[in-house]
Symmetry: C2
Subunit: 219 residues, 2 copies
């Protein structure tokens, strides 16, 4: 298809597509004539992916470019690709230096040991968790490791379930869709957290029941 | 304490504190002399809270001001306060109009019915979930409601556990710490998701086991 059709199909304005082409976010089309090129389904899928990462993932185009390059670099092992996702997602706003990561390091160490997770020590995910725990403690919220355990168990379940999701069967590569899935499901998790919190505030659970997972009752 | 001590104690530069005072994010101190005021533990706690919401929550100061005002407005019921949190967190980047919320509305409807959640129909959390599901479908990832169910179950568990966390026992009000907790635990959840994904990619779980939650095996 021509670039005008690509724009119509994707709903993305022509100047934006041209900008993505110039920035290398979208690969060039196949030249057909002077100043003309043909685009195919792969370009359309790639445009949708970029849109998903900007609108839902709220990532900037520079970060998206790095993530797409990492996904395309087949020589990069999957754990390193996931670490690249962490690098993009586990970012702090300004003033993060206030949080001393050492203060929350015990929670990270305990969860890693308990769940037997294999995570590169330099991964931004570890730093983000320990800093966040540190900030929680600064605010006087001293949740211990038993509080975090169910969150870690669910993260383990979800990671396995997400990895087992069937490939989209589209022109998006398996690696590319692993990246997109990981980031889109963050938004799913956050919106479900909000829904449950709003509902819980509307119909509070008696304190004694709060610690049991849904669907589990004492016999 | 004087404003210079407040700055030293909090590690926040004096000009920043003065800016927060001008913007009304930090309440004025008690006037002691011309151009002097006394600040107390409440101011220090408030500064830490603002820092937590900027660094970990990555919220802008305008949004933080709105959230703090909502938390202080005791006449606002708790569900409305949580909806204000949703309003701040469930935001999309540019181009979100591409995602037709109607396309993912079935997942939202099914989960609301199944979990019996009470959520205001106008809540941004509902819109965010349906839009995200819509974007996933656009990308060819057509997860059905059974895929989302365990995420919703965990959100229910977490909301109850978070609501049951003991009050920090500090000068931060219960409402204020509910807001901070909700947002800080988003960062906990996201970093744990990354850790589990990195680990899962390093040591993939056989596909047949992927659907069972951790610790549960068939007898």
């Amino acid at each position: 298809m021509r670039i005008s059709e690509l724009s119509r199909e994707s709903g993305i304005p022509l100047p934006t597509i041209k900008y993505y082409l110039r920035e290398g976010l979208l690969p060039a089309g196949e030249p057909t004539a002077r100043n003309q090129a043909a685009y195919h389904e792969g370009h359309l899928a790639r445009l949708r992916l970029i849109r998903a990462l900007t609108s839902v993932g709220k990532l900037d185009l520079g970060t998206i470019g790095e993530l797409l390059a990492a996904a395309e670099d087949e020589s990069m092992p999957m754990p390193a690709l996931h670490e690249a996702v962490s690098e993009s997602v586990c970012r702090f706003g300004p003033c993060a230096a206030d949080a001393d990561a050492e203060v929350g390091a015990d929670v990270v160490r305990d969860l890693l040991a308990e769940f037997g997770w294999t995570v590169t020590p330099s991964s931004p995910s570890l730093r983000m968790l320990s800093r966040t725990v540190s900030v929680m403690r600064q605010l006087g919220c001293d949740a211990d490791v038993s509080f975090f355990r169910p969150y870690a168990a669910e993260a383990t379940r979800a990671a396995a379930a997400e990895a087992a999701l069937p490939a989209p069967g589209s022109v998006i590569s398996e690696r590319m869709s692993a990246v997109a899935r990981s980031i889109l499901l963050d938004a799913v998790v956050l919106s479900l957290r909000r829904m449950a919190q709003e509902s819980c505030a509307a119909t509070p659970v008696p304190a004694g029941e709060a610690l049991h997972p849904v669907g589990v009752s004492e016999a």
